[in-house]
Amino acid sequence: MRHLLKQGLLSVTVMASAAIFTAPVSAADYPDKPIKLVVASGAGGSTDTAARIMAINIQEHIGQPIIVVNKKGGSGGIGINFALKAKPDGYLLMEGMIGGHVLFPAMNTSAGYTPEDYTPIAMTQMNPNVLIVRADSPYKNVKDLLDAIKAKPGKLKFSHAGAGSIHYFGVHLLLKTAGLGNDSAIAIPYKGGSKSMAGLLRGEADFHQTNLVSAIDFIESGKVRALAVTTKERLKAFPDVPTYTEEGYPNVDIFGWRGVIGPKDLPKAIVDQWAKAVQETMARKGWKKMVKAVGDMPRYMGPEEFSKHIASDFKRYRQMATDLDILVE
């Protein structure tokens, strides 16, 4: 409560002073008013929660209140398009997410933007993917599963959260890496990750690749069996689950991420200021604890590394969308 009160007072003071001091805005004064952080998905979702955790923790490091604004719709396209139209003055940034910032433009040439149209600032967290089957499934490891697909192409089914979701691309990446055709397994779309998980549990699908966070509870309760994770090393929480690298598919290194992204032509000074603040925030215990509660893994990438990562992600998924004939003109 006291914390809130302090924040309230701070913001009131800040707003009052912002009204009084009116020297022309330069990077040195940045930020001199509250900053809006656009979340291109619905309130209460994982990206929104991630943004709000960042917002309450970073205030002290950036020196201004951060206001989270939800603008959802169109797989993130609506909010991102809106935020990209903002002046690049650093007062309107975005919570970056793989879905809206990379996957959606990768499969939609009419999305209105590509990674070239925004400025990646910093990655804050990542979420590895995990390949799962039901506990009673005959497939004990990745090889079993791929052999079964090879033996009878077009018979096994996997559930995913819609064409263009990471669940969808992830499995196709595996199939492609294993030298299997796009149609060797049947894709069953669901509305969202949790429903595609239910589809697997119900027996409508034979396998499913999803974010670790969505699967963790089901793996622990023994309802599903994890076959492989997309991280380079085994996860501490599941030491028995091999990595794709160990299984011989190091290319299947797909993972979801979130971070902070600004509009195009954001001044370098602001980018660096934010990247530094993000780094400081990520060292906070409170932030780490909350992020872990949400099921993500803290992972920092600075502006250059993050930009490179996004560019290569985009290239990869655009290629896959073309191959899979799901590219929308």
Binding site: T22, V69, F82
Partner: protein, 193 residues
Amino acid sequence: MAIDSVTSELPSPMPAVELETPTRRGDVVAAILCLTAGLSGYLLLVPAAVYVPSKVAGTANSPAFLPNVLFLMLTGLSVIYLIQSFTVYLRQPAQGKARKMDWLLAGGTAVVCVGYIVAIYFVGMTLGAALGVAAMIYYFGERRVWLIGVIAIILPFLLWYFFEKIAHVLFPTPWFGIMEWLEGARNLTGGVA
């Protein structure tokens, strides 16, 4: 939601509004419009605006399958509607009451609505609301200028305060940045003071 002849049951006397009783000619026109929509949808719209991946083309799983079925259904139903209403129209072509006045008035409301939307683009949500509500109240017949003025000031202010300050909804930036200009002016005077 059929609210026909509700007016007569109202406690206070209200003038009859002849907009909600279908006319015979209106039915014929509506049927023709529906038929046009169904046919043009099936023949033009679906081929032009629905992308069908080659491997599902022609199956029930094609993205175009349901739109096609629906447009065809609409066409079929419209044909029945047309035949039905046209037979009735041929039998009794004469219309009952004159409703031209009501239609003109309704059209006027639509024009004010369009003006309001255009105003939002030009001067933004808040000023647009002030202009819109004032124009609409005036058009609906209220002539007390002070009353219109009070509502046109208080309502947009409350909405601005709630949406901008509490709910943090981002409103579109108007083409004529009047609000921004005002804010700049306020800052300027603040700086001087």
